[in-house]
Symmetry: C2
Subunit: 303 residues, 2 copies
């Protein structure tokens, strides 16, 4: 796609072509496995279940925004999706959120069984780090840069990031949260990995310190907007489009933006956040259009 001509930029086709590249790469990652391991079948089942691919898209768009070549960072982008997918598989387990449906299909532990789902999650997480450290894809002079990307992603995904967020999310089913605690929960559970996705794209793409700071602001805003929109969809979304049940937050008495500040204020808050995200990109040129488009997509999406 030619981003030189802004008029030609079309979100839908950009997202589609990038998603295709991401899906092709992910598909290949699990292709060279001999035998018919149930483990690999379960990994593939969840990985190829047709997610939005938001994190890899953000990574590629982050690289593009600072003038980098997204195609050089497809492996990093896809590793982020492996981490995201593992977290969904484990979150859906009976001992966790106990969700039977994911992306319109039976959750991994329903399609297979609990043990297989647990292991498939473990294996996708491990495969992410295997992918991030595959030195054959790496320009040898930048090994330190890749190590630091891997470190950044592991921190975002770990006990001071995503996993702590999920822990708090589980606890929140029994204890109501105030707005600050809810925001912190979301920042950990979803925000940290979304921020790492944009940041690592920008960092690998050669962004300046100032550009990276702006990308962080952008990512912080859309990460939270994404979660507010998720809460909104859980109230008024269409289960057929969403691919999962709605109204579950209320049944579980979970604190959400709609439950704390109301439905309409939640929608305006999400809109404000997206505006703030786009504002943070002011000094970037047309190459940041994909990031702008993704920000809009985040609150317009119906799934």
């Amino acid at each position: 796609m030619n981003f030189g001509d802004k008029e030609l930029f079309e979100l839908a086709s950009y997202l589609e072509s990038k998603r295709e590249q991401i899906n092709t790469y992910l598909d290949q990652c699990l292709q060279d496995v001999p035998g018919s391991s149930r483990l690999v079948a379960a990994m593939r089942y969840s990985l190829m279940a047709g997610g939005k691919r938001l994190r890899p898209l953000l990574c590629l768009a982050g690289a593009e925004a600072v003038g980098g070549k997204p195609e050089n960072f497809i492996s990093t982008a896809c590793a982020l999706e492996m981490i995201h997918t593992y977290s969904l598989i484990h979150d859906d387990l009976p001992a966790m959120d106990n969700d039977d449906l994911r992306r319109g299909k039976p959750a991994c532990h329903i399609a297979f069984d609990e043990a297989t789902a647990t292991l498939a999650g473990d294996a996708l997480l491990t495969m992410a780090f295997q992918t991030l450290s595959s030195i054959e894809h790496i320009d040898k002079h930048y090994a330190l840069k890749w190590l630091s990307v891997l470190n950044r992603i592991s921190r975002a995904a770990g006990y001071q990031g995503m996993i702590e967020g999920q822990m708090r999310d589980i606890d929140a089913e029994s204890t109501p949260l105030n707005r600050d605690a809810l925001e912190k929960l979301h920042q950990l559970k979803t925000g940290a990995l979304i921020e790492a996705s944009v940041y690592c794209g920008g960092f690998l793409g050669g962004g300046s310190r100032e550009q990276l700071d702006r990308l962080q602001t952008y990512a912080g805003c859309i990460g939270l907007a994404f979660q507010v929109k998720d809460d909104v969809l859980n109230v008024e979304g269409d289960p057929a489009i969403l691919g999962k049940e709605v109204g579950t937050d209320e049944i579980r008495k979970k604190s959400t933006y709609p439950s704390i500040i109301g439905l309409e204020p939640s929608k305006s808050f999400a809109r404000q956040l997206v505006n703030r995200a786009i504002q943070a990109l002011e000094s970037f040129n047309h190459r940041s259009d994909p990031l702008r488009a993704i920000a809009e997509y985040i609150i317009e999406r119906q799934r």
Copy 2:
């Protein structure tokens, strides 16, 4: 410890001093966490439950054997223990092996709960890769070497290594295995990470191609010997020393070396493997004494 004077080498004190260094490092890894997260408490509970620390010991001894300085690789060694600990937490879960006791204490999901144990396992796995990629500990000129160590460990721990081994182990409860299939299962489940531990120590320590090949042979033999001994201990071990129940393999009708080739032949097989491991180190000097000592320990251990 001065390895220059072979006569002075004492296994017990070597293992103890190294174990102490490993425990100190692991303890520090979870020290800088603010608040009182249940997640971190569960991670610490399992990580500091007093394991044998076999994998980190093998990594340090592997470095030592080729003339490297083990103290430079303590973070790598400890990352291996984090991976091992996560695998134990997940293996003990009700949907997996459903073991209530581990290292003489309630398993993580008993001491906490299933959701917390699942997340603590996830978090330890992620922390291993965070530790392996901590660039402040890394000599910048060797970043590529560290990346390749990380890659090697992720492959050993992943869907073509340890996790596939656990998948087969679960399946083996319903389907009897022949000796070849059992050996392959063990090679995946335990062998792969043990081999990676020795290899990475030797590789980081600056071992030659030939030395690394010999270390691999050594590791392959002791990895299998370890598992054969485990099977033997499940038949005739003392639960009080072992810290877990015995006789469970028979109850679960699991294929084991004793069940396939008999108890006494299993013991001689383990001894043969250890002899073969020690033979592989013939051309190494006294600096490989710790590896020799660990090999002996593996079949003499009572827990």
